[in-house]
Structure formats: C-alpha cells, structure tokens
C-alpha cells in the first residue's frame, strides 16, 4: 500500500508563503522566550518557586466558591479543574507564609469551609525560590549545551550551509512549541523544556532524511537546475518523511489522549513538535539552503 505515490509538488516555489508563516511562528516564539526570560510568562512553580496541590474531593466542588474561600483566608491562588473525577489543581505563588506551611494552610481552609466535602491530597509540591532560580539556570545551560551539541554534530556530518539550515529548522520547531504554548497560555515548566529538547533531537531526523537525498541527487545529477533537483529530491522522500512522522505521531497522540493529566501538556508539546518538525524539514530547511546557494552563485557571477 502507498499513501503517496509519485508526486510532483513545487515545494521550493512555495517558499515565500512558507518563509512568511515561519517568520511569524519564529517571532511569536521569540516573544514567548523573552517572556520566559523576563519572568512574565506563565512559568511553572518548578521555575518560580511556589506551591501546587492536587486535591481530589468526594463530591463536585464549585471552583468559584473554592477560590473565594482561599482568598478570604489570605491565600491568593490560581485554580484549575481537572476533568476526570472532582479534582482541583491549586497553585499558590508567593505568600506571607513560610515555605512548607502553604500546603497545610490550603488544606485547613478546605477542611474548615467545605466541611461536608471530604478530600485527599493526591500530590503537593512546595518549591523554594532559590531552587527555582537554580533550576532555571540549569535548564538554560542544558538547552544551550544540547543546541551546541546538535549543531556540532550536523556541522561534522554536513557541509556548512546544510548544517546551518538544519540548525535553523530545528530551532524553528522549538520556537513553534513555545509560540503555541504562549498563545494558549499554557504553563512553561521543566517537562515542556524536556519535550522541546526531545523534539529538537527528533525533528533533525526528518531534516537529515531530506538533506541526505538532496546531496545524493546533487552528486548524481549535474545538468538540472538546483530548483529542479531540490524539488525532485523532496518529492522522492515525501512518503518517508510523512510516514516516519506518522508513526511517532500515533504514539504521541495516544500519550496525549490517554496518558493522563500529569503529562497532558508534555504530550501536546510532542504532538505539536512532530507536526511542525515535519513541515519545517520540507518547507523551511531545504528552501533555506537553496536560497543561500543561489545568493552565493549570484554574488560569484
């Protein structure tokens, strides 16, 4: 069976539209990262410090009443309902209470204000600001090292132009994940960074598949124009690119749909990353190399 037979799509011809779309995505991604660095993004408590509780109630609990009860007792909190089974996610930022006392105080409020509705604390995390700062720094270093590591590897495997284009395409995918999380106001936490780094490693594969073929055809075929060879190569590996993405996407989707609340956003980031990664390896990476090659030729001529 084949989903895609022989195709003759002019991928390179669509580069203006694609570059525009990608520029917007990248711009949004940069805005998101600026927000993260300046601390005004929706950062998870692992980066900022603070307290998060996941509570399971016996009966349904009104989220507004819960919020009111907490703020009445001097605990400003961000509440979120979890779809399956009367659960609440309660996030508390900085308070006057000492670290280690916040979770207890929250429990106390619910015990007092909702006497009829018994609850259990499924998980709680209290993180001091110093820990958050350290983790933020460590994460930044981790991201930088991975990016540098990947670039060094590509530079070793490919020549300069391909290497830079692949690195840009990879970076583009990571930016896209941040952009979408920023647009949807989803929390940026350590798991998201993990997902983004995983995607960085993964999306490169797709790009490499395309590049490998372009290089192979460049050696075989000296007559045709670059545009023809690039288009031809991309068409040749289309089904590979789509199917490798599809199988991984199937796995990521089942994580997204059935993996549960804790890794829901993580799986979402993977799904987004795989989709964008496939797009970028076809529509961003190769056209970039081509544009660069053409510029170089024009300058030489």
């Amino acid at each position: 069976m084949e989903i895609i037979g022989k195709t003759k799509i002019d991928f390179i011809g669509k580069r203006k539209i694609c570059f525009t779309i990608s520029a917007i995505i990248a711009l949004l991604g940069f805005v998101a990262i600026a927000q993260i660095v300046s601390g005004s993004a929706n950062l998870g408590s692992d980066f900022t410090g603070g307290t998060v509780l996941q509570m399971k109630f016996e009966n349904r609990i009104d989220i507004h009443a819960a919020r009111q009860a907490l703020s009445k007792n001097g605990i400003p909190a961000d509440l979120q309902e979890i779809s399956d089974g009367n659960k609440l996610l309660i996030k508390v930022g900085k308070t006057n209470l000492a670290l280690g006392k916040v979770a207890g105080a929250v429990e106390e409020v619910f015990r007092k204000e909702f006497t009829a509705n018994k609850f259990t604390v499924e998980s709680s995390s209290e993180i001091g600001p110093s820990v958050g700062d350290k983790l933020r720094k460590d994460t930044l270093i981790a991201v930088l090292i991975s990016i540098v590591g990947i670039i060094i590897y590509i530079a070793w495997r490919f020549d300069f132009k391909f290497g830079v284009a692949a690195a840009i395409a990879t970076f583009h995918d990571v930016l896209a994940i941040f952009a979408i999380f920023f647009l949807l106001n989803k929390e940026v936490n350590l798991l998201l960074i993990t997902a983004a780094l995983t995607i960085a490693g993964y999306s490169l594969t797709d790009t490499v598949v395309v590049f490998d073929r372009i290089r192979e055809n460049l050696h075989k075929n000296m007559k045709d124009s670059l545009v023809t060879i690039f288009n031809f190569s991309i068409n040749e590996v289309m089904s590979r690119t789509l199917i490798t993405s599809l199988t991984t996407l199937l796995a990521a989707l089942s994580l997204f749909l059935f993996g549960g609340e804790v890794i829901h956003d993580f799986a979402f980031a993977l799904v987004v990353g795989i989709l964008v990664g496939t797009y970028s390896s076809i529509f961003v990476a190769s056209p970039l190399v081509l544009v660069w090659e053409n510029r170089a030729k024009q300058r030489a001529a």
Partner: protein, 534 residues
C-alpha cells in the same frame, strides 16, 4: 545459511532470555521458591516517586548557625577556664559570625590571657589586642578554612543524623544524599504520613536542661526587663480535646546545665497512673555525674527541659537524682512521644535545616499514572502495529516484531541496570514505540525505491539497509545528545525520561539494524522467497 546469521540469531535470543529473566520479578506477583533460592535477579523495576508515591525533600542546612554554635561552645568553655584559673574578666562572648571577644580589666591579665589563648586555641587567629573605654580587648578569629570545615562537617553530620532518624522511623529504600555545598536530598518512597515524616526529619532536636529562675515572676516579665543571664521561654500546650494551643512563659537561667549530647538512650513509656506517654532518657557517665551534681545543688527548684527553644516541662527537683535517668513528660500523644524518642536517640542536628523543596505524591495518583501510562502505551502499540501491517504487509509485521522486541529489551535493561522508571520515562517508552519503527520505515521506503528501479529483492534489501544506515545513525545520535544532556541536568522525573530515551535509542539501533535484518536475510537468503512483501 548466510554467513553470520547464526550468531546474530543467538545474540537476539540471548538478549531476549536475559530480558525476560530480569523482568520476571516485576511481572510475577510472587516468585516461585526455586527462583528465590537461585542466583536469579529478584529486584522489580524501580519506580520513581511520581509512580509509587512518597516524598522528595531538599533540605538546606543553615551552616552559618553551626559555626555560631561552635563559637558559642568555645566562648562558654573559655569562660569556665578563666573562672577556673581565677582570672577576672568583664565579658566573653561571640562576636558576629566568626570571632570571640574577650574583654578584660587590665593589661596584666590581658597578657596572661593572650598567652593562654595562644596555647589553647591554636586553631584560631589571635587578633592584635586593643584598648577601648579603659578595657583591654582580645579577639579570637576563626580562620576561613576552619569555618569551611565546620560548615562541611555540619552538613555531613546532619546527613548522618537524618539517616539515623529515618532508619529508626522505618522507611524501606530511602535515599539520603548530599547535594551541592549545603543541601541534603531525602527521598522516602511510599510514606503514608508525609507530615509526620517531614516533622521528624526537620526537627533540630537540641535538648537542653536549664534551671528556672524562681526569683522572677514570668507572667509580668518582658525580654527587656530580665536580669542579666536570664531568658524568657514558652511552653506550648495543646488541649487534647479542642486542639487549642496555649503558651505558658518561663524565666530560665541562660546557662545550659546539661545537653542532649550526653544521652545514651530514649524510650517511650506509659505512665501507669495517668495513662500518659512520656519519654524515659538515660545519660552517659558524664551526663549522669552532671545531673547528680545539679540536682543535688538545686533541690526544691524547678528544672526546665527545653527542646528547640520550647519548654517541654519544668518539674520540681524533689531530691538528688544520681542514677543517670530522667523522664520528659508533656502534653503529647503516643506518636509524638515515639517521634521525640527517635530524634533524641538519633541526636540533634548540628544546625537547623530549612525545607527548600517538598514534593509529595499520594499512592493513588501514582497508581493512576501507571494505569494511564499503560493504556497510552497499549493504544500506541496497537495503532502502530495496525498501520505498519496495512502499509508494509509482511515486512510491516517484521518491523512490528522488532518494535515489540525493542520494548522487551528496554524493560529488561531498565530492570537489569536498576534504573528508575518515572512517568515521563513511560512517556519516553511510548514515544519510542513510534520511533523504533521509524528506522524500519526508512529502510523499507528505500527498499521500495530500489525495487522500483528493477533490482532483485535481495539486492534491494541490502541496498535499503546500507543506504538507510547513515540516516538512522544520524537520528539516533542527535536524540542521544539531547538525552545525555537531559540526564546530566534533569532532576527526578526528567532524569527518568532521559534514561528510558537513551537506553531505548541504543537498543533500537540494535533491533532495527540487526534484529529485523535477520528475518529478511533468512527468508531471502537461499532463495526461499522470490518476492518481498513490502
């Protein structure tokens, strides 16, 4: 048979058997007795705290307090020495965080003391003496290196003490590790009462016996109006019925008569008269002698038992106590008494600790996560199997077999290496289901192309594997780079992700390049199959 086929098949089978052997303890609810007796592995796959529930604490030891404590002890010791030698002095006290100041009345004694300090406290730097307001001032300064070593030792000692307490509390497989300069990481899997455990670990447990100053009325005393050498301390009493907390003030002599260091044992006992729990303590010979002297000299006065600046009780000394045993009673429950006994036996922390991170996961959430992870994995496996079977027919099934083999190997490796499986780790495994057939997809697509060019199945197969090899290496190496970085920098769950991912990627390289190829080689080898179902 094509050359090399036998050893490749053997290798695959050996790995399979090893994986199954290592996975048996995880999969079997109860191991048969012959298994237990033999050399077979008995450990289940380690589950992270996020999957089995428990607490992850990061404690910061307030090491500066340990230095100050040391200086205080030396100041008291110096005071005693000077008194013992009948040297008149105005004041001996700790100054800031690194020195002890001695104030003397005249130059003559200053010289004597200077000599004494030089001999006795050679670890310290003796500052040049100076005169101020008609007094002679001497200062001993703790050297930087010494301060560092005191801080370092205090963290080490805190670690030992906490380990001791946890051992006595009874937690299976706790992790207690030093992290960085002054942090201690404590992981307690499966703890049922996290609050109690945290309290037990975090308590400084500095036990002091101090005399009550009977000459001052504690109800009217304020910190400002106290006579020199006295201090105000509170006893917190909790009403067992209402839970209301009341505070009773005491005016105590500042000087600590006996400390908890001199204890040899502490046990919970039940008072037969009031059915109240109390903690019976035993002193060592030094402590017993001190206790004997103090009680003999202070009959009729009250002797306060102070733990971490909280008065537990202040019983009246009715008679001289010379046996070296005493008891601490107060308004506590049996659990609290038992925890108090544990911290007294394990000893005090050399400095207070601050909780800077506390992650608690209840057992139900962990169970739920495992359950959902399994479902997601199963759905993922099924989707991929169906897709591959339809799209690549028999070859797809070969890839599917490779994928399942990959999963078994991965789980076996996790068990064999004693790696920890976390929820993100499960996510990595699910992701690997998709990624592990990727390599085969690359190969199959290449084979199809070669077939279209008119090559024979065997030639197409070899070309497919050869030409896809570099691409497959590329994808695996880049994933390994990120996994390695995540492993180095990640904590807990993320580390679990990195472990699963990197192991999976390495194993996948084996199953994709050797595992599935064996099947094709076998069938195409002797012309058993004329066509390739792809």
């Amino acid at each position: 048979m094509p050359k090399g086929l036998t050893w490749r098949i053997s290798l695959i089978l050996i790995f399979l058997i090893l994986s199954v052997v290592y996975l048996t303890p995880t999969l079997m609810p109860k191991l048969p007795s012959w298994w237990e007796g033999a050399i077979f592995p008995k450990d289940k796959i380690h589950l992270g705290l996020d999957l089995q529930g428990g607490i992850h604490l990061v404690l910061e030891v307030e090491t500066q307090k340990a230095v100050e404590g040391q200086l205080d002890i030396i100041a008291t010791d110096l005071e005693d020495t000077l008194n013992g030698k009948n040297i008149r002095f105005k004041n001996v006290s700790r100054l800031g965080g690194d020195r002890i100041a001695v104030t003397l009345f005249d130059k003559g004694t200053a010289e004597t003391v200077q000599k004494l300090l030089k001999d006795k406290y050679s670890r310290f730097e003796l500052q040049a003496p100076f005169e101020e307001g008609g007094y002679q001032n001497l200062q001993l300064r703790m050297a930087e290196a010494e301060i560092k070593s005191v801080k370092d030792k205090s963290v080490q000692q805190a670690l030992e003490t906490i380990r001791n307490r946890i051992d006595q509390f009874g937690v299976s497989e706790p992790v207690i590790q030093r992290e960085g300069i002054s942090n201690i990481v404590v992981q307690l899997p499966g703890v049922k009462d996290p609050k109690r455990a945290i309290e037990l670990i975090g308590k400084t447990a500095r036990l002091e016996f101090k005399l009550v100053d009977e000459g001052v009325d504690p109800t009217t005393a304020t910190p400002g109006s106290l006579p020199e050498g006295d201090e105000l301390q509170m006893e917190k009493r909790t009403d067992p019925d209402t839970g209301a907390v009341s505070e009773i003030p005491y005016v105590l002599k500042k000087k600590t008569m006996i400390t908890g260091d001199l204890l040899t044992d502490a046990q919970v006992r039940i008072d037969s008269q009031f059915n109240q729990p109390y903690v019976a303590i035993e002193f060592n010979s030094v402590g017993a002698k001190l206790f004997d002297q103090v009680t003999a000299a202070n009959v009729g006065k009250r002797f306060a038992i102070v733990l971490d600046n909280n008065v537990y009780s202040a019983p009246v000394i009715r008679e001289r106590i010379s046996g070296g045993s005493a008891q601490i009673s107060g308004s506590f429950t049996e659990k609290e008494a038992s925890d108090l006994a544990i911290v007294l036996r394990a000893g005090a922390l050399p400095a207070p600790v601050k909780i800077i991170q506390n992650l608690t996961v209840g057992p139900s959430l962990g169970q739920d996560s495992i359950h959902k992870g399994l479902i997601a994995g199963l759905v993922g496996v099924l989707l991929v199997i169906i897709f591959m079977a339809i799209y690549y027919k028999l070859s797809g099934m070969v890839a599917n077999t490779g994928m399942v083999l990959n999963l078994v190997y991965l789980m076996g490796a996790l068990a064999a290496l004693g790696a920890t499986l976390t929820l993100p780790g499960i996510a990595a495994i699910v992701l690997l289901i998709g990624m592990s057939v990727d390599a085969n997809v690359l190969i199959f697509e290449r084979i199809r192309e070669e077939l279209r060019l008119g090559k024979t199945p065997k030639a197409a197969l070899d070309a497919g594997y050869d030409k896809a090899f570099l691409t497959i290496m590329d994808s695996h190496v880049t994933t390994l780079i990120t996994a390695a970085v995540l492993f180095q920098f990640g904590t807990g769950p993320v580390k679990g992700f990195a472990v699963s991912l990197s192991l999976g990627v390495i194993i996948n390289l084996f199953t994709a390049l050797i595992g599935t190829k064996v099947v094709f080689d076998y069938f195409l080898g002797r012309g058993r199959a004329k066509k390739i179902s792809i």
